[in-house]
Every structure is written in structure tokens, then in C-alpha cells.
């Protein structure tokens, strides 16, 4: 995917560019901006597809119509002059106004035109009001509901992904040093356990630590009522984080360690590593300069791919652990058929995915000198 970009850029830059540093940064900037726009386009198209899917059942129209009627009914009922009129007359007025408004918003026009308007609104998360779900502050605006649920998800996901990533990387390096040991064999034998998703292990963890032992809470983000003291609050948060993060670790750990270990082993068989070893360089230096450094782009790629998986997996893990994040919100929206919120979740997940991919590409470009210097793309 990234490869073609490199190749095309390579073609339209003259070869003598490589000699100066500022040009390299210019290339980086151009590369980043290009990536940004191509990803933005991808999100647009992705969202448009989502809207098409949602609108097949006419749900998008329904949301808009309901919104219009809501607004106008409210407006009429607030008007003191209107209150004097008989209900039948008021209803007629409402119907007329709704019709005018629908025509103004183009609801009587063919879908193709409307879909773009809706796309524009969706991209700004301007999806009107949720049908059932409210934010903690009592608001029904989808945008507010979603933005309120974002931080808990980010907290859980970043904690889970960083701890899984760093621990498995360190452990894999350790194993690649001692490969063939009993520990190594155990990890290999256990790596098929990663075929089960985190929620699966979550259920077991809940059973053991919450139901049988009663050490940790069944779910939620903080104790109820939330502690006033910030330190107590943080501790309570930490206590609630343990099980979901642990579920994530168990689910991803063995396969991830196995993957890294194998990757490092293959790399440590390269000739230049052998040479470094023959020169008598200390093992730590070899690891840092001859194994980690050249594999950094791959490590980053796989981290971002893991993040992408995480965003999706969050939905179910949050549901199992009652974590008040985006996933849990989507689950509740599913149960109450809250269409605006469901579409809103799609938008926010598309943004999160695109942002992850963008970040990946950016860091990749920073780390991989081939992108900066334009001396050819990475091997396929």
C-alpha cells in the first residue's frame, strides 16, 4: 500500500535532491500532506459507504425527518400565541412547516443529492439527537455523547496496547537470546491460545477474580459513587483497569511474543549481525544497533496494525467489562435501536482508524530513512 507512493515520488524527484538535508524535510512534509489527503479521501469514501448501508433501509431519512418534526413541534409549543389555538389547527401548522422545512433541506429530492449533505453532516458528527442514549451531563446530542465516551476508550486502549506491546517486545528479545530454552518452548506451545479474543479471556478473569475470589470489581470504570479525592479516584480507576487490560494481555501475549521472537531470530541470522558478533560487540549493542534499529519500521507497522485491531475489539471487551466507552455506547445503541448513535459510532471509529494509519505513516516516514531520502521504497 505504502510502496506505490514511494515509487511515484521517487520518479518525480530529480536524483540530485538527496544531497541536502532541508530537501529531505521538504520531502517528508510533502509525503505527510499527501498521506493526509489520501487518508481523508479514504475516510470520506468509507463514510459514504456506511451511509449507503444505513440508508438502504431509509434510516437516515427517518433520522432527519424526526429531527425536523421535533424541532418544529418544540418551536410551536413554546410559542405563547400558538398555545391559544385549538390542537387541530396547531397540528396542521406543524405539518405545513415540516413540509416546508423538508423541502428546504431537500428531503423531497432524490437520494443521491441528499446523501452528500448527510455525509457532510456525518463527518462533522452533526447527527442530531440520540433517540435514547444521553450523555452524563444529560445532553442528547450525538456529538456530545460520543465525545464524552471517547476518553475512557482511549484510556483503556492505550493502557492495554502499550503494556501488551512493550512487555511482549522485551520478552521476545529475551527469548530470541535464549531460544530453544524451556520457556521458549512453552511460549511456542501456548501461542495458539491467542486465537481467542480478549472478551473470551475476560469472562474467565471475571469468573475467577470477581465472582469466585471477589478481589476485583465486575466492571465499570470507577467505584460508585466516584471517590472525591483524586488519588483515591486514580486508585479506583486502576483497580477497574486491571481485568480488562489483563484480558487483553492474555489474548495477545503469546502470539505476539512468538511473532516477535521469530522475527528477531530471522534478523539475527543476517550476515551483518554475524559480523558484529564476530567482532565481539556486546550482545546489548548488537540487539540495539543491529537488530532493533533496522526492524524499527516493521515494529511500528505491527504496532499500528495492533491498534487498528484494538479499536474494533474494544467494542466487545468494553461491553463485557461494562467500561463506559465507545464500545459500550455502541452496544447500548444496538440494544435500543438508536440509529443516530450507531451511525455516529461508525464515523468516530473511521476517524480513529484513519488517525492511527496516518500516525503510522508519519512515524514510519520519520524512522525509515528511505522515505526521507527518497532512495527507493522498502522491499515488498
Amino acid at each position: 500500500m505504502t510502496e506505490t507512493t514511494f515509487i511515484t515520488e521517487e520518479m518525480d524527484t530529480p536524483p540530485e535532491v538527496e544531497r541536502k538535508r532541508p530537501n529531505a524535510w521538504l520531502r517528508l512534509a510533502r509525503y505527510t500532506v499527501g498521506k493526509f489527503f489520501s487518508l481523508f479521501l479514504a475516510v470520506l469514501i468509507g463514510m459514504y459507504l456506511t451511509i449507503l448501508v444505513a440508508n438502504m433501509g431509509g434510516y437516515v431519512d427517518e433520522i432527519m425527518r424526526a429531527q425536523i418534526r421535533d424541532g418544529i413541534s418544540l418551536q410551536i409549543s413554546m410559542d405563547p400565541e400558538m398555545r391559544q389555538r385549538p390542537p387541530a389547527e396547531r397540528n396542521q401548522l406543524i405539518n405545513e412547516l415540516v413540509e416546508v422545512e423538508e423541502r428546504r433541506l431537500g428531503l423531497d429530492q432524490p437520494f443521491i443529492g441528499r446523501s452528500f449533505r448527510f455525509l457532510y453532516n456525518a463527518m462533522r458528527l452533526d447527527l442530531g439527537r440520540a433517540q435514547h442514549i444521553t450523555s452524563d451531563t444529560g445532553s442528547r446530542f450525538v456529538r456530545l455523547v460520543i465525545l464524552e465516551r471517547l476518553p475512557p476508550t482511549l484510556l483503556l486502549m492505550t493502557t492495554a496496547s502499550f503494556s501488551l506491546f512493550i512487555i511482549s517486545l522485551v520478552f521476545a528479545l529475551f527469548l530470541s537470546r535464549n531460544y530453544g530454552s524451556i520457556l521458549d518452548k512453552i511460549v511456542i506451545a501456548l501461542s495458539p491460545t491467542s486465537s481467542a479474543p480478549p472478551w473470551f479471556y475476560g469472562i474467565f478473569l471475571l469468573l475467577i477474580f470477581a465472582a469466585v475470589l471477589g478481589w476485583l470489581p465486575f466492571g465499570g470504570m470507577v467505584a460508585a459513587p466516584p471517590p472525591e479525592d483524586p488519588i483515591a479516584y486514580a486508585l479506583s480507576l486502576g483497580r477497574h483497569l486491571i481485568l480488562p487490560v489483563a484480558a487483553w494481555m492474555i489474548s495477545g501475549f503469546f502470539a505476539s511474543v512468538f511473532g516477535w521472537r521469530t522475527f528477531f531470530l530471522i534478523f539475527s541470522m543476517e550476515d551483518y549481525v554475524e559480523l558484529a558478533r564476530a567482532k565481539g560487540l556486546p550482545a546489548r549493542d548488537i540487539e540495539r544497533r543491529y537488530i532493533l534499529r533496522p526492524t524499527l519500521p516493521n515494529i511500528i507497522t505491527s504496532f499500528a496494525l495492533m491498534l487498528i485491531l484494538l479499536w474494533q475489539g474494544a467494542i466487545i471487551t468494553e461491553t463485557v467489562f461494562n467500561w463506559p466507552g465507545l464500545g459500550r455506547m455502541l452496544f447500548r445503541a444496538v440494544q435500543t435501536f438508536d440509529t443516530p448513535v450507531i451511525i455516529g459510532s461508525n464515523v468516530i471509529y473511521a476517524y480513529l482508524l484513519a488517525f492511527t494509519v496516518f500516525l503510522l505513516d508519519f512515524i514510519y516516514a520519520l524512522v525509515d530513512p528511505r522515505v526521507r531520502m527518497g532512495s527507493g521504497g522498502p522491499k515488498a
Partner: protein, 446 residues
């Protein structure tokens, strides 16, 4: 093929995986033959005609093997069942009154109290309802009257709802009081042989009555039951063929379509290749699960519809990049050149020369992908988007979650389907893992 088996023998985990899969396949075939689809659906969906004498959320029978306390099983004594050996004595009292006496005896060797106790009466009469007196005999010969009932054609006498009996027992529910040591507090079980006397007076010559005593236990069947009195054995068994069908079809569908698209892109190159890569980029930011959820809500919850959507959403997955790299190498091979020189068409080269070469490389990934899809189905069910008709493992876990199974201590409800999922997941993952090492020599060295 022989070589394949000798090489797979080097991996004990692959053998274990093969055994697990074989077990699942045999189980699936047996289930589909023994309980045909229609019948399974009918039992699972329930209805008046299938509701048996099954307790609610009863634990599986094997719980009793591990605890010193023996929980009661379900006891059913039916006078209509010739095997039960219930004697019915009929004596004429007056010209138009007959007395039918039945004794329903049972042993109670358990340490817990039943969940519910009831007597189901089935009477045959023209106009005049029979009059039934129920008396309970304790092991020591003492007795207590349970109720007087004017029986309709189908009459269910629930012991716990008999007000007079309840008052007589000082408010202790009859299902407990009738089986406990007198004056014990908290109630202790009095083990021994109990009798329920059903004394009926009928007012017509041809009138008759049958009685069925049901004491619903706390353990039932080898898999327990759920909140709707359904035996969990059915979904546990039927989950296997459904999971296999779903996982296999999804893995085959996604792998082959993805590979084929990669082949087309590589072969035609240029604009086609560029387009495919752009689409892959868009697919990368498509929120897979939320879209799937949306389809589940707006259109259909049938897992076969979702299966199609899963395949459609996975066509342009990141795997295309891997296949592309391999195809790029194959494309340069001499035999492709030869095929082209004798004038083979594009589609012929793709389907006959490019694709077959990659299939051995494909298989480990294909098998390794199956558990992912099996768990995906379970995940959707967990979100409440399970197929409304089919009994699947995910559906059972979802039901359990919704009814607070872990919180209320119904561990079997979650653990059994989870174990089945684990068997499936591990089985395929182990084989896929071993195959990966067999087909990728570079992995074998390390």
C-alpha cells in the same frame, strides 16, 4: 500426501489439533443426523408442545460428582407411564361415585431442596369434574393434606401456591417444608421414602384420571438448563456444525477472493493494480465491526447474511499485500513466460498458472483464520446480534451474560460453551501453526 503426514507427525500440537477437529467433525455429523435441523430449531425456539418438566437454570448433573453435597435431580413419577408401576385401585362407592386411589412413591436421597414441586392431573370426563384429594406421607408415616382440587381436563397443582398448606406450614414454602426434618431451622433435608397419595372421586362411569408428580431438581441433564427451561445440551451440540460451517465458509470465502484479486492486480498491473491498492487503503479505515453491527440491526440477523457481509468486507484486507508480493515473484517465472508465448489468455494464466502455485502457501493462513471467524460469530452473538433462530455457542454465552450468570454463580452456563469455543479455536490454531512451519522452511529453522 504421505510426506505431509510424516512431516506433521513432528509436531505434537498438530496431532492434538487434528484430534480436536476430528472430534468436532464427528460430533457435527452425529448431531445433524441424530437431531435434524427442523427438530433442533423447534426444541430451541420452544413452545407449549416442547416444554418438558425442566427446571430453570439447573446445574449440570456432573456437579454432584465433585461435591459432597448431592443436589436433587428432577424426579418425575407418572401414573400413565407403565414403567413406573403405579397401581390404580378403583372402587364403586355409590351408583354414581367411584373412588380411584393412587400412590406415587419416591426416594429422596439428596442434600438440597427441589426448585419447584407440582402435580399435573389429566382427567377424562363428560360433564362432572373429578374431585381430587392430595395427601403427603413423610418417611415416618406422618401425613399432611396438600390440597383438594376439582380437576379440569388439564390441571396443574403447584405446591408452593397452596395457601392453606402454606399457612399450615407457618409460611415455609412446601417444597422445603415437605422434605425437611420437622422443627429444623434452617431447614434440613429429611432423606427417605416419601409417598404422595392421590385420592380421586369421579362422578361418571367412564371418567378416569392420571397424575404426574414432578419435583424439579437443582441439577438437570448433562449440560444443565437455561433461564427459559431449555436443555443446554442442544445448543452445545448444535453449535458445533454451525460454528464449523460459518468458520470454514468465511475463511475460504475471504482467503480465495482476496487471493484472486491480488492475482488480477499483479497480472494486469498498471491502473488495475493501482486501483486495487487504493481500495485496500479505503478498506483499512472501514470500521469492520461497526458496519457489521449496522447490517445486523438494519437488515438481517441471519448468520448467513452476516457471513456474506463478512466476506464482502474482508475482500480487500491487508492480506492482499502478502499475496501480491508472492505473485510478483511467480509472475517472473519461466513457465508463465512459456504459457504466454504459446498464447494463453489472461484469465487462463491467472486461474491455471498463477493461483494454483500459491495454494500451498495459502493453506496455513486459511486454517489459522477459521478460529477468528468462529469467535467473530460468538462476538456478534455476545453483542445481541446472534442469529435469532439458530442455537449457537455465542448465543448461550449472551443469554448467560444477560442473566448475570457469573454474578449469580451459574458458572456452567458460561464455561460449557466457552470450552467448546476453546476446543474449536485451539484445534484449528494448532494445525494452522504447524502447517505454517511445514510450508515456511524459514520458520522451521528457528
Amino acid at each position: 500426501m504421505k510426506k505431509f503426514f510424516t512431516s506433521i507427525k513432528q509436531y505434537p500440537s498438530a496431532i492434538v489439533g487434528l484430534i480436536l477437529i476430528l472430534f468436532l467433525v464427528v460430533l457435527s455429523i452425529y448431531v445433524v443426523v441424530a437431531i435434524p435441523y427442523d427438530q433442533a430449531i423447534r426444541i430451541w425456539r420452544g413452545g407449549e408442545d416442547v416444554r418438558g418438566d425442566v427446571p430453570r437454570t439447573a446445574r449440570p448433573i456432573y456437579v454432584n460428582w465433585f461435591t459432597p453435597q448431592k443436589l436433587p435431580t428432577t424426579i418425575v413419577i407418572d401414573s400413565a407411564d407403565p414403567g413406573a408401576g403405579i397401581e390404580k385401585t378403583r372402587t364403586q362407592i355409590t351408583d354414581d361415585m367411584w373412588d380411584i386411589q393412587m400412590v406415587l412413591p419416591f426416594d429422596y436421597p439428596y442434600d438440597g431442596f427441589p426448585q419447584e414441586m407440582q402435580l399435573i392431573l389429566t382427567a377424562t370426563y363428560e360433564e362432572k369434574n373429578p374431585f381430587v384429594t392430595l395427601t403427603w406421607y413423610f418417611p415416618d408415616g406422618e401425613r399432611i393434606k396438600i390440597a383438594d382440587v376439582t380437576s379440569r381436563r388439564n390441571e396443574t397443582v403447584r405446591f408452593d401456591l397452596q395457601d392453606r398448606l402454606l399457612r399450615q406450614l407457618d409460611g415455609v414454602p412446601p417444597r422445603i417444608a415437605l422434605l425437611s426434618v420437622p422443627e429444623s431451622d434452617p431447614p434440613e433435608v429429611r432423606q427417605g421414602r416419601y409417598e404422595l397419595h392421590v385420592d380421586t372421586i369421579v362422578f361418571e362411569e367412564g371418567s378416569d384420571i392420571e397424575a404426574k408428580f414432578v419435583s424439579m431438581g437443582q441439577v438437570h441433564g448433562i449440560a444443565g438448563t437455561d433461564h427459559r427451561r431449555r436443555d443446554l445440551l442442544l445448543p452445545l451440540l448444535w453449535g458445533a456444525p454451525i460454528a464449523l460451517a460459518f468458520g470454514l465458509t468465511a475463511a475460504l470465502g475471504t482467503t480465495f477472493t482476496t487471493m484472486f484479486i491480488a492475482a488480477i492486480g499483479v497480472w494486469f498491473g498498471g491502473l488495475v493494480d493501482e486501483l486495487i491498492q487504493r481500495i485496500t487503503e479505503i478498506y483499512m479505515v472501514l470500521p469492520f465491526l461497526p458496519i457489521l453491527i449496522m447490517v445486523g440491526i438494519f437488515y438481517s440477523r441471519s448468520i448467513w447474511v452476516l457471513l456474506v457481509v463478512v466476506i464482502a468486507l474482508s475482500i480487500f484486507s491487508a492480506a492482499i499485500k502478502n499475496y501480491r508480493a508472492i505473485f510478483l515473484q511467480i509472475k517472473e517465472s519461466a513457465y508463465i513466460e512459456a504459457a504466454r508465448s504459446y498464447g494463453a489468455g489472461n484469465w487462463r494464466i491467472i486461474s491455471r498458472y498463477l493461483v494454483p502455485r500459491i495454494i500451498p502457501i495459502l493453506i496455513p493462513g486459511l486454517i489459522g483464520a477459521i478460529p477468528g471467524y468462529v469467535f467473530l460469530e460468538a462476538s456478534l452473538a455476545l453483542l445481541g446480534l446472534g442469529d435469532p433462530i439458530l442455537p449457537t455457542w455465542g448465543k448461550v454465552i449472551n443469554d448467560a451474560q444477560m442473566n448475570g450468570a457469573l454474578y449469580n454463580g451459574y458458572y456452567y452456563w458460561v464455561l460449557q460453551p466457552a470450552a467448546m469455543l476453546m476446543i474449536t479455536g485451539l484445534g484449528f490454531a494448532m494445525i494452522g501453526f504447524a502447517l505454517d512451519r511445514i510450508f515456511n522452511p524459514k520458520l522451521r529453522e528457528v
